[in-house]
Structures are given as C-alpha cells and as structure tokens.
C-alpha cells in the first residue's frame, strides 16, 4: 500500500497511464462533457467556465494499431492523435479544439479528421506573432468566438462571472505548479523526472481544482533532501516521454528546469483576475515567452531559454525533438552553437512517441549525464 507521501504520485501516474479512463470516470460522476484539446495553448479557462473538462491529447494515450491512414511525414504527436480519432478511440471526448500550432496540426485537422465524425470542432487560430499590428484585436475575436462555441456545445453560456472563477482556478493551479518547478530548481532531485512528467500530464486530464490539491499534497511532503546529483538538466522540446524521464532518473540526473510544452509552457503565465475576462486571456497569451510555435518578438527563443537555463542552476541542456517536428527543429543548430559558445553540454535527442526507443535513449542519456562529470 503506498504511503501517504506517495499517494498523489501514484494517482497522477495512474491518470497518465489511462487518461481515457480518468475522463470517463469524471463524466459519469459529473454528467458533463469533455473537450479534447490538441496541443498547445488552448485557452482552457473558457471550457472550464462552460462546465466542460478540457483534456489535452498528446497522441500517445493509445498505441496506434496501424498507421491509420496517417502519412509517414506526420510527427508522432499529430499522427497518434489522428490515428486514435480515426480508429474510434477517445469516444469519451464530446468536442475537439484544434489550435493553429503548426502546419501539421492545421492540415491534419482539415484533411485527416474522419468526415463521418460529427462531434463539434473548433479550429482555434491564434496570432503567430504577439507584436503584429492587430494581433490583440484578432485574438480577442477568436476568444469570443470560442467562448460562444463552448457555450453552445456545453449548453451553458460562458458568463463573465463563471470565466472569472475559472481564471482564478487556473491561476491557482499554475502558481502551485510553479512551486513544484521552483522546488526542483532549489533542491535538485526533490522530485524525479518521472514525477514531474506525471504531475504535468495529469493536470491536462484532471479538473484543475483536483490537480491543484494533488500538487499541494505532493509539495507538502517532507522527504529527505537527496544527496548530490550527477547532473542538473534543463529540458526543452515539446514533451518528454515516460522512457526518457525514466532514463534520466536512472542515470542520476535531476531536472531543475524545463520549457516543455507538456510542462512549463502549459502552466506558466497567469491571467489578470479583474477587468474583461476575454481580454485577460488574450493578454496572457500575447505575453508568453517566445517558443518554437510562436514568433519571437524582441527577445529570441534561444536568448530566453538561456536566461531560464541560468536561473534554474542547470549544468546541461537536453533538447527532446519529436521526429518530423519542424517548429522545434529550426532552432536546434543555433541552440547547439549558443551552448557550445557558453560551454554548456547540449544534446538533441530525437524521440518518437510510438517507437520502442527505451534502450537507445538510455545509452545516450547515460553518456550525456557523464559529460563533464
């Protein structure tokens, strides 16, 4: 029987292993609808305020039975999402939200979505550049349209009051997740990579209120401060897979910072809790750090990454690149140069969500951790 300390982690891990089961349980208890959110940057507060459960789908929740008619040039995130939908998985999801993350997501939504699937869909096109003239006005229009759509799908209009409450719930959740990240930076090894992964992923499936409680419990534990770690790693990329995190843990590496989309990018930045709520969501989005899918305005993604790297106290940078992901690939050579210039050990590890890469990931991560020891 897990101890009280381990219980939040076990629960989160269980949710990660079977997210569809967790969604199904929530639906049967609440009697409400779930919305599948394709990564990344869906303003989930709106779905929450409409009484729906926003569920981020990463494409590795089911092992794809076959390619499911997905072309080979599609990354395993989008490929996994599409093949799951095409093969009738994710029946717990009542509606879909597709943001304009990248060429692959935009086109997959248009072309590969099964035509006989009549669940409501919303293509959330957001400005690719925060400082483009007219970007706030355009995004406000999209947020309002999304708000209306969510109200229609759920049958519950998204009132200003409900949205304000949801913004508070999300801000609280982000604050607590930030505490977890701070703890990992201040006390390397206080949470393992697998724990970070499980807590980050579980929050994309569970109602945020429940997730906040789990995080608080996890943070309240009084575990012994671990001894010195072999390496302090900063992770960047769209996501880490379970095997990658296990390999980092096994190699004795501590994650002290990350800008993963399935991690910091999802949880960072709070929305203003007063004033016009739609505008507040627009501002939150436009204030984001530059990332691989958002055009860098002023400061580049690499500059920002290096700043965050320094703040975290990391001693090496690990880039996890989903194969076939163009947005993430573009920065890799310059990122590698920057690291080389600063004497920061850097590794770009290609990952595929559906390939069995456990052994090769382990070998490369072990070698990476040994660098400069």
């Amino acid at each position: 029987m897990p101890s009280g300390e381990e219980r939040p982690f076990r629960f989160a891990l269980e949710v990660c292993r079977n997210p569809a089961g967790a969604v199904s349980r929530w639906k049967s208890v609440s009697g409400r609808k779930a919305a599948g959110c394709i990564p990344i940057y869906v303003p989930e507060e709106i779905l929450h305020a409409a009484g729906m459960l926003p569920v981020t789908i990463w494409g590795n929740e089911f092992s794809p039975a076959s390619s499911g008619g997905v072309p080979p040039f599609v990354c395993s995130v989008a490929g996994g999402i599409v093949s799951a939908i095409r093969s009738g998985k994710w029946e717990e999801i009542d509606a879909w939200v597709f943001p304009s993350t990248c060429d692959t997501i935009q086109n997959a939504f248009e072309v590969l979505f099964p035509p006989n699937d009549d669940r409501p869909r919303f293509p959330f096109v957001f400005p690719a550049s925060a400082d483009a003239p007219g970007a706030p006005e355009y995004m406000l229009d999209r947020v309002e349209a999304f708000r209306e759509w969510a109200g229609t799908v759920s049958g519950r209009e998204v009132s200003e009051g409900a949205l304000e409450r949801s913004v508070r719930v999300y801000n609280e959740n982000r604050k607590v997740f930030a505490l977890l990240e701070e703890r990992m930076a201040e006390t390397p090894g206080s949470f393992t990579g697998t724990e970070l992964w499980a807590y980050a992923r579980a929050g994309m499936v569970l109602p945020r209120e429940g997730h906040t409680e789990i995080l608080k419990k996890a943070l309240s534990r009084s575990r012994e401060v671990p001894g010195p770690t072999r390496a302090k790693v900063f992770l960047t990329g769209m996501l880490a897979t379970g095997p990658v995190m296990e390999a980092l843990d096994a190699a004795g590496a501590a994650i002290v910072g990350n800008d993963l989309a399935l991690g910091n990018r999802h949880y960072s930045g709070s929305a203003d809790e007063s004033g016009d709520m739609s505008l507040s969501l627009v501002r939150r989005h436009l204030r984001r750090d530059p990332c691989s899918t958002l055009h860098e305005s002023g400061r580049t993604r690499i500059e920002r990454l290096i700043e965050r790297f320094a703040w975290s106290g990391a001693d090496r940078l690990l880039m996890l690149r989903v194969r076939q992901c163009e947005p993430e690939s573009g920065d890799v050579p310059d990122m590698a140069d920057e690291c080389r210039g600063r004497g920061i050990p850097f590794l770009c590890l290609d990952i595929d969500l559906h390939a069995e890469e456990r052994a090769s990931a382990r070998v490369r991560i072990e070698a990476f951790v040994e660098m400069g020891e």
């Binding site: 060429d103 355009y138 194969r323």
Partner: protein, 385 residues
C-alpha cells in the same frame, strides 16, 4: 525518343532570370536594399520602395533542377538540421556555407527579410534563423490559416499588418513611401497574373500547346518578378507563342493520346526525364495544381481551382509526393482514393521536390511505365468502343 517541343520563350526566360539574380548582387552598388522574401509575400510593397527581392525558395528550386540539392541539404544536415526538414530550407542553409555548390553561386546578403506565413509556418522558423544568421531585421506577416469561411477579423488583422508595412519599409530603407509606385506594381502584378493564367488555361485545348513541365520551368518570373514590367513583357511574349500554337493546332507532345494533371510541388530534379518519358509515350502533362497559385490577383481573387476543375474535368491525374513539404503533401492519399472511387486513374509517386537523394529513379520509371501502359490500353479500348 520523342521529346516535347520546346518553347522559344524558354531561352528568353533564362536570360531574364539571370538578370534577376544579378540585380540582387548589384543592388548595393546601386544604392538599393535587398530583401529575402517568401514566395507568397506581397512583393509589390518592396517594389514600391525600390527594394530588390530575392527568393530563397526559388533558389531551392534552381538547385533542385541542377541536382545540387542533395549536396546542399547534406551540408545543412551536417550543421544539425534534421533530414526531415523542408529541403528548400536546408538548401538555403547549405548554399550559405557552400555557395560554390549552388549553380548560381548562392544568394547575396539581405538587408532585411519579409516573411509571410500564408504558404506555410515552416518559413517562420526558416526566416527566424536567417535573421539570426545575417543579423538583419525580420518583418513577419502573420496571415491566419483559413479553415472555412473567411472571418472578417482575420481580414482586418491582415489589413492592419499591410497598413503597417509602408512605415516599416520606410524605416528600413530610409526612403519615402511611394503610393504611386505601389499602385503601379500592383497593376503590373495583375497584368502578369492574367497573362500567366491564360498560358495555363490554354492547355484545356487539344492538343495541349505546352506541358506542365514547361509551366514549372516558366513560372520563375511570375514567382520572383511579380509587379515588374519585365515579367509582363515576358508573359506577353509567351502568351503570343502559345496562342500561335493553339491557332496552328500544334501540341507540345507529338500525337497526344493521354492527358495528365500533376498535383503537388514539382519534383525539380526529375522534370526533364519525366516529361521526356511521357512524351515518348504520347502522354502530355497538361496541367499542375501548383502553377495556378500565382494566378491569384489583388482585388479579384477568382476561384481559380473551380475554373481549373472545369478546364481539366476529364484529364487523367498524376501526383507527386513532396515529402519534405508537409502542407502540400497532406491529403494526397485522400485525393487519390477519391479519384479512384470515381474511376479516374492516378498514381502516387514518392520523392522530395529538391533533394535528389530522396528519389528512387528505377522504381519511379517502372511504376510510371506500368501506369502509362494501362492508360494506353484504356485509350485504345476507348477508340475501339
């Protein structure tokens, strides 16, 4: 072997394109600025400010035709760009570090960059990298993806950005914005697009006066010199030559039996062999979905695909898969399945547009041979029936 009849205009185009590339190199001496620009960007704004536009994508295609793409991509991969990236992007990087491998010696350095993400979002990452490499400003035009009906807010967003461009360009060039030159350039663009559309549509006659391969090779000026008088003059000459062919009932392919449409980007390094092979079998590539992208015109925006669908309603379909261009390659299998269900033969061939390393030449020939034979048989059955 029977080859498609060459167009006289082709020789003139080489000359024209050479002058275009030279203009980039000479710009500085002439006190003009150079901007790298994406193929779907509104270049008329640059012409208004006497900026010389340079097209890295077009350079990628030129390297593809010369079969230099593989070596240049290789250089980019050695630098850390992954193999699965757009080959135009990688060629651009490769040519920056190994310009001697490019058939035109690479590209001149830009003073600034103008990137429009209406063709894809890949170009944003590409141009961000260019901006870091050359340490020059990047103007991004964020043109939102249109899923269904156009949203008025999206149009307004685009307008806001367009309204902002003259000021930005004035800042970058130190010149006064010239509305007059801008309008003149828009008019010239429109004129060239009308002529280009006529060239394409002429192929709805039988026999087709040109092939889609001609179109691929002759689209250089409409892509890179839109908005200039030279482009208008060039397409005027080409239209004249095509009209003459139509008048004489002269086809590009001797004894045209079968007509094919090409979907997706051209596989630049295989254009001639494919075209010669087909001509030798009495098969004409009469159209391509790619070339009509440059028939869009300001203020009119006709539904070109509708028009084309009418013109080519009864042709055979042929498709290429440009694997490194994801936006263009999406939906190929769905289109093929649909066509097959409607009894229209089609073949899917796999190959990168500019990286000849990703093309199995032998396999391509065998498959196309079988396809053409099948069409031939059906043609004869049809003649007997």
């Amino acid at each position: 072997m029977t080859r498609p009849k060459r167009l006289e205009a082709a020789a003139g185009m080489k000359e024209l394109m050479l002058r275009h590339f030279q203009a980039g190199w000479l710009a500085r001496e002439e006190g003009r600025k150079v901007a790298f620009v994406t193929s779907g960007a509104p270049v008329e704004f640059l012409h208004a400010m006497d900026v010389v536009p340079v097209y890295p994508e077009n350079h990628g295609a030129v390297c593809g035709v010369a079969r230099a793409g593989g070596r240049l991509c290789q250089a980019a991969e050695e630098r850390g760009y992954s193999r699965d990236l757009c080959s135009y992007w990688k060629i651009d990087w490769g040519a920056r570090t190994r310009p001697s491998e490019s058939p035109i010696g690479g590209l001149p350095n830009p003073d600034f960059l103008l990137c429009a993400n209406n063709i894809c979002r890949t170009v944003v990452k590409w141009y961000e990298g260019l901006s870091r490499f050359y340490r020059v400003p990047l103007l991004l035009l964020d043109l939102p993806f249109r899923h269904a009906e156009e949203e008025p807010a999206a149009r307004e967003y685009v307008r806001d950005q367009f309204r902002n461009l003259p000021g930005e360009l004035a800042r970058l060039t130190g010149r006064m914005w010239s509305e007059e030159r801008f309008r003149e350039s828009v008019d010239l663009s429109r004129e060239a697009s009308v002529l280009w559309q006529e060239c394409i549509e002429a192929n709805s006659t039988r026999p087709a006066p040109t092939t889609a391969v001609d179109q691929f090779l002759l689209m250089g000026p409409i892509v890179t010199m839109r908005g200039t008088r030279e482009a208008v003059e060039f397409y005027r000459g080409l239209t004249h030559e095509i009209r003459e062919r139509v008048r004489r009932g002269e086809g590009a392919v001797e004894g045209e039996k079968t007509r094919l449409l090409w979907d997706n980007l051209p596989v630049w390094h295989q254009l001639r062999p494919v075209s010669d092979f087909l001509a030798d079998h009495g098969t004409a590539l009469v159209g391509a979905t790619y070339t009509n992208a440059w028939t869009e015109r300001a203020g009119e925006s006709p539904d070109v695909s509708e028009g084309l669908a009418d013109a080519y309603a009864r042709v055979w379909l042929n498709m290429g898969l440009g694997h490194r261009c994801k936006p263009y390659s999406f939906g190929q299998e769905e289109i093929a399945a649909r066509l097959k269900s409607e009894g229209i033969p089609c073949i899917l061939m796999d190959g990168d547009m500019a990286d000849e390393r990703d093309f199995a030449e032998g396999g391509w020939r065998t498959r196309l041979e079988a396809f053409v034979e099948r069409l031939d048989n059906e043609h004869h059955r049809g003649m007997r029936g």
